[in-house]
Amino acid sequence: MKTDDPNINWVEEPKLGLAGRMYLPLLIGGLTTTARHTVSKKVTVSYPEQEPEIANKLIYRGVHRLNKDEQGRVKCVACFLCATACPAHCIDIIGVESPWPDREKYPESFVIDELRCIYCGMCEEACPVDAVELTSMYNLTGRSREEMIFDKEKLLSVYDATKDDEPMKSAEFGGTV
């Protein structure tokens, strides 16, 4: 900003009185706002004791789970649609002949790398049999990388853990599955 720029007009700053120079009115103005907040309703959610209430559990995108059908078998048919739909490429499946008569393929190993996953929900959208779903479990931490790679058993255990309070979404999921 060159000082002799024609269209900048220099303005004298207003003279401040003693109180103004000591910024007293502002101190009081600012402190009243803060004082008003000390008496108002607390906003903090103290996490470990108070769990945050997730309003819409159907659509929340948390840790994955693999659903089981009525006979307790994994619902996935190893069609690789979720693996291709995933932008972060963190699902790898090995599909083999299925021992059950009514299905020709089932995943022998179904691995989701939770560390690379961005929880965008596209696998849930792409799955034709609603096998993989995102639960509303959010607080997941790990101490090593290997611990965070979820294989089939772990995903099924997440299903058993969240089976009752979160039924399978396919029936009433108002979304576009």
Partner: protein
């Protein structure tokens, strides 16, 4: 005693000689809004040259865009301007729809206006909160984030994520607004309005804030246009240009039926600024204070737009627009579309050669050009003004480095 000739060069030279210093306002600095490195050539306290070094967050989004289908690239647009994820999704969605010549149902259009204007409020709140942090006051940051958490709750209920939504996809939105969401949104707007007056008392009319920002970093309209600055930075310099009113036909049809005025100072005063604090005498058009003031008035404009959107959304019925299939074939051709993101014009240029994966994807970011003007604003100013100017440009590194 020999008369000493005052303007003898040796005296001046010897007496006030201070070597120029290269100060590194490094990639890790509380006031650089992320990872940007400013190399300041300072002569004592006065900065004579500022060269921003960017690229510390270059995440190759455009190379990835050449290997993923448009539906899969939506999460990457979220991560460009991560404070306004919805506006980025909207830009990409409209660009792909322009190429596919896809017409969106009425309900989807109003849903998009509500969601993007809410996201503009959240983005300006963070911009205002961190600007307070840059200038040393901590409480506006806390109040801004408290309000923003309520908006994030609304978004979490609508699309399942707090910050990276990938909700407005090409073709519509991943899910409809759950019932009861609209009244929750209305209650939020009611209790949000008194908080705005609180921010005004804390920042806009605060003499310390005015002393730090008024008459600092003055950007003349011609220089703003020449450097390609857009958004609140351009309107803060008095240029009356807003893509929501005079942008592309496909983008402005989203807003037809909505009454709003572009926030820009026309002959001395801002539109409907009757009940806001007046412009202080020492604030010159185009300085940091005006850019901040334009953002605060845009929050009010966005509240008004969301209210209109809610009535229109209630009366609209039918389908809200289902996302396009994962592997839809893109027609051959190229298309460029710009939308008004909170920080500037966000443009997407899509070249496709006929199959599902685009040939070239280019994202033009508003902050990229806004930051390039930092040198013009900062040379000749003391070091303490650098955070004030960079904060007023309100930059986000994810969008600059892509």
């Amino acid at each position: 005693m020999a008369t000493v000739n005052q303007n003898d060069q040796r005296i001046i030279e010897y007496d006030v000689r201070t070597d120029e210093m290269l100060v590194n306002m490094g990639p890790q600095h509380p006031a650089t809004h992320g990872v940007m490195r400013l190399v300041l050539r300072t002569d004592g306290e006065i900065v004579s040259e500022v060269t921003p070094h960017i690229g510390y967050l270059h995440r190759c989004a455009e190379k990835i865009g050449e290997n993923l289908t448009p539906r899969q690239w939506v999460p990457y647009t979220d991560r460009m301007d991560y404070l306004a994820g919805m506006n980025m999704n909207l830009g990409w969605a409209l660009c792909v729809e322009k190429l596919l010549d896809y017409d969106l149902p009425e309900k989807g259009r109003h849903l998009r206006v509500i969601i993007t204007e809410l996201c503009r409020i959240a983005s300006h709140l963070v911009g205002m909160g961190t600007y307070g942090l840059d200038l040393g006051t901590f409480s506006p940051f806390l109040y801004a984030f408290r309000e923003r958490e309520k908006i994030l709750d609304l978004f979490e209920e609508a699309c399942g994520a707090r910050l990276t939504y990938s909700y407005l996809t090409p073709g519509g939105a991943t899910a409809d607004l759950p019932n009861g969401w609209i009244d929750a949104c209305e209650t939020f707007l009611e209790q949000f309005e008194p908080c705005i007056t609180e921010y005004h008392t804390l920042l806009t009319t605060n003499a310390i804030f005015i002393k730090r920002t008024a008459n600092v970093g003055i950007l003349s309209p011609e220089m703003a246009i020449n450097y390609g600055c857009t958004g609140p930075v351009l309107r803060g310099s008095g240029v009356d240009y807003d893509l929501r009113r005079d942008g592309e036909e496909r983008y402005t049809e989203m807003y037809d039926g909505y009454a709003f005025e572009v926030i820009c100072e026309r002959d001395g005063h801002y539109p409907n600024d009757h009940d806001y604090p007046p412009v202080p005498p020492d604030a010159v058009l185009g300085d940091c204070w005006h850019r901040f003031y334009v953002r605060m008035l845009e929050v009010m404009q966005a509240i008004d737009l969301v209210r209109q959107g809610i009535e229109k959304y209630r009366s609209a019925e039918g389908n809200w627009g289902v996302p396009i299939k994962l592997t839809t074939k893109l027609p051959k051709g190229e298309v460029y579309l710009e939308t008004e993101a909170p920080r500037g014009q966000m443009g997407f240029y899509l070249v496709s050669d006929g199959n599902a994966i685009p040939w070239r994807v280019r994202a033009r970011s508003g902050c990229f050009s806004n930051l390039s003007v930092a040198h013009e604003l900062c040379n000749g100013s003391p070091i303490a003004d650098i955070p004030a100017v960079i904060g007023s440009l309100d930059i986000v590194m994810g969008e600059i480095d892509r």
